[in-house]
Amino acid sequence: MSTQPVLRTEDLHVWFDLPGNRELHAVRGVSLELRPGERMGLVGESGCGKTTAILALIGLLPGSASVAGRVYLHDEDVLAKGEETISPHRWNDIAMVFQGAMNAFNPVKTIGTQIAEPMELHGTSTGRAARAQVRELLELVGISGERADRYPHEFSGGMRQRAAIALALACQPQVLLADEPTTALDVMVQAQILELLVRLTRDLGLAMILVTHDLPIVAQVCDRAAVMYAGEIVEMGEMATIYHDPRHPYTRMLFSATPDLLGDEDVRSIPGAPPRLDREIAGCPFTPRCDSAFAPCATTHPRRLEVAPGHEALCHLNDHLVAEKPA
């Protein structure tokens, strides 16, 4: 843990403009760190802001969004001047694998041409050198280099997802953002893709944020996990710690809602639905669905507390930690 983080966010916020002068506060103060070679899972239900947060990291939010906070790549604040400061890093240092590889490629261009495109655009390589690198990248992700001349429709779903990973690696990034990279895939193909992602981070020292709604995938692949709810990271820490000693009821309830292949205990849904994010929320946003809510939850927003080294949670249940030991 001594290495410096390659990526760090501080108090990241994203708002979307809505009709009628309203705003949707989608990401509400996300702070996280990512070290070289580390795999972090960003987990939550749909609409919790996980995809929005990583789109903000790579500067790919639509024009209706406004962003505040800081995103550091090494020591440079890439959000400082918006597009001007992020664009030199996009794809060169931080790249993304999008959800649904079916649609990530242009159907009328060969896979090879499309992987070479960012290389030529960013000037990392051109012409014959680029073509050689494309073949090398395809081999790296488990596709025969000869298939560079094929079109997307000639690839199966799993192969297209591999090609999308090769595309993200085209300019040798240090950070890979993977947004639900296996949702549309069968479980055996999913296993192949997850194994590939683990191998790439291990062999290339690539840092990865894996966005998913599926906790078991994070448990299998990631070192650390950040659980998001209503735009906030409500718990973050080592994956094993979060599973065995969750310090936010949402984390615990999310695990209980997920059937486990060999688990015997009842699977329980979480009552209710996440709050609307186009209005301010009094207190803890999880209060109405929480099975452990008590007096302060409805009125006071909880503090982010480090409950153990490297393990933080955003829940009043942990307040006694500071009350007993005043700093």
Binding site: S46, S156, A191, E195, P216, V221, D260, L261, G263, A273
Partner: protein
Amino acid sequence: MSSAEHETLLEVDGLVTRYPVQRGVVGAIARRPKETVHAVEGVSFTIAAGEMVALVGESGCGKTSTAQTVVRMVDSEQGAIRFRGREISQLSARSLRPLRREIQMIYQDPYESLDPRFTVRDTIEEPLVVHRIARGREERDAKVREALVRAGLSPPELFIDRYPHELSGGQRQRVAIAASLVLDPKLLVADEPVSMLDVSVRAGILSLLDGLRKEGMGILMITHDLSTAAHFADRIAVMYLGRIVEEGPARDVVRNPQHPYTRALITVVPKRDPREQTTPQILTGETPNPVRVPPGCRFHPRCPIAEPRCSEVDPSLQRPREEAAPDHRAACIVTAPGPSADEVGPGGRGTA
């Protein structure tokens, strides 16, 4: 839960469903051979009242085709479908109509399956009108409310006049289920009923189905998710390329898998506990093409324990060698050799 105590609702025996591959006018002129998708190739199973059977497999394995054939949305080529003892695979559309009340289907995507211009009441009332049940407004209203409550949308006043866009995904799926329940069916066929829903609400829908099962409903659940099947189904049938390759009590199939395909699947399903991850036994390639089915055991090209004879013998479902459960069967001549390993498919089930 013992199926012997309950009426057998559905018996599927040697079901075969094939689709022609469109070769187009050019293909016809060029005299390209006519090709067939072997979607379902000799599938047999039964469902008793009060029993949930999960058909599990990857895309293209034939699980949805099996479900569609059973509910007679698609015609079978061979085999029998007996519903409460009556053979229904050849019934005409007219004779099927009363049966449609008793066998209802629930679809994957409640965002697609509900008409956006229909209120909840319209959606649930429509089957009553179509089947000419419950004449009169009041009787219909009572039935709609009862169905809403049974589907967990209570109090009904809160939902009855809403439109789908005003409901969450889980609520929509409950409305779709209510529209099935209003006909008082005996058998529900649920095709991936929760895969479009958020994790936090999935368990609620599955518990609802589980409750219906306990009340005596027979349920055929189609799913790609072994963990869900393991938790909610009484029995699991694992499909591969149009065949059931393993079938048995859910617990036995998951904890003591006998077919090499099931064994591999179980190792690649991510577990919740990070310390419990097994080394995934990853099969190379993807589910092969159901147009060109390999000879012998259809799994042998990807099988880690295949022997030379596996490319010749098409195995039938047999009691596994090391398995105690009497109703656990696998189609593998290596792990479940059966009484005669030379047999090629049971009762003409195999296509040599």
